[in-house]
Amino acid sequence: MGGTNPAVKGSRSAPTGAVHFAHQSEAEFAKILDFYGIRWEYEPRAFPLRWDDEGRATESFNPDFYLPDLDLYIELTTLKQSLVTKKNRKLRRLRELYPGVHVKIFYGRDFRQLLLKYGRESAAAL
């Protein structure tokens, strides 16, 4: 299977409260986007990264958010370093396979500092 046709997992443009987020940091990020009037979709697409001999995807990358007006995917990661390394590898692979797709990754420290800037210390401690 080629690597230029990401599967559509399901767009879930909806009020923040109607979406079930995998992590509290994602819910907080959605609130920030809502605050500034930025439209978003939560995990709308899975990008296959590797396939088996029969063409079935064996590895994929599901960015947390898609911002349609900016044509930008955003991945938040608050994971420990070993898992961040794995995620970075997947991100590099995604950029190789889908060069037209814009993805930005927010690491845990980035996101915590963003929340601190907004005075959201309790959320930053999550």
Partner: protein, 187 residues
């Protein structure tokens, strides 16, 4: 207060020199046009004050204030104006003067708001540009003082919990100050 600062990123003299350079550039670009400098309370006040005094041409200044995400006044869940401009900007040359552009979300909101009022021109002048976390990557910055690394900076108008704005330099806040605040909020 200064003991909370890990290092001085930009000292008073560096800021002053760069502000004068920006002012000279703006004076050339806007000569004879009586631009309106618009600033957002409170972070950009120090920068606007120094910049406008270094510009050698007639100009006007005005201020806006908006709710900040996470603040007590932002409970509605969407950004809103607390103070609007006092003057009409239709047909004017408007320069939005910012202290820092980080994600670009605040500046993007302000640009949309001001653009809807049909100014003749609308550009951004920011003292600090921290592009590392930029979400609005299409945001055009007309004048940029300094590009800074991904550090938590305070001083020269920039605050943390409303403190440090009055420092005459831009410094990096110590991690332990942030950690203590986070721990206190979590307790």
């Amino acid at each position: 207060m200064r003991s909370d600062i890990r290092e001085i990123l930009l000292d008073r003299e560096q800021i002053a020199v760069r502000v004068r350079e920006l002012a000279a550039e703006i004076s050339r670009d806007y000569a004879g046009r009586n631009p309106l400098f618009v600033s957002v309370l409170k972070g950009a006040v120090y920068f606007l004050t120094d910049l406008s005094r270094a510009v050698e041409m007639p100009l006007e200044i005005d201020f806006m204030a908006i709710t900040r995400y996470g603040s007590a006044r932002a409970q509605s869940g969407v950004v809103r104006l607390i103070k609007d401009l006092d003057v009409e900007i239709t047909g004017r040359d408007v320069l939005l003067v910012e202290d820092i552009i980080d994600t670009g979300l605040t500046a993007g909101y302000l640009i949309r708001l001001l653009q809807a009022r049909s100014p003749s021109t609308l550009r951004i002048c920011t003292l600090l540009d921290r592009p590392y976390r930029r979400i609005l990557e299409t945001l055009e910055i007309g004048y940029r003082g300094f590009e800074i690394p991904d550090r938590f900076v305070v001083g020269y108008g920039l605050d943390y919990r409303e403190q440090y704005r009055h420092l005459p330099f831009i410094g990096v806040l110590k991690d332990e100050v942030l950690r203590e605040a986070a721990s206190a909020a979590d307790a």
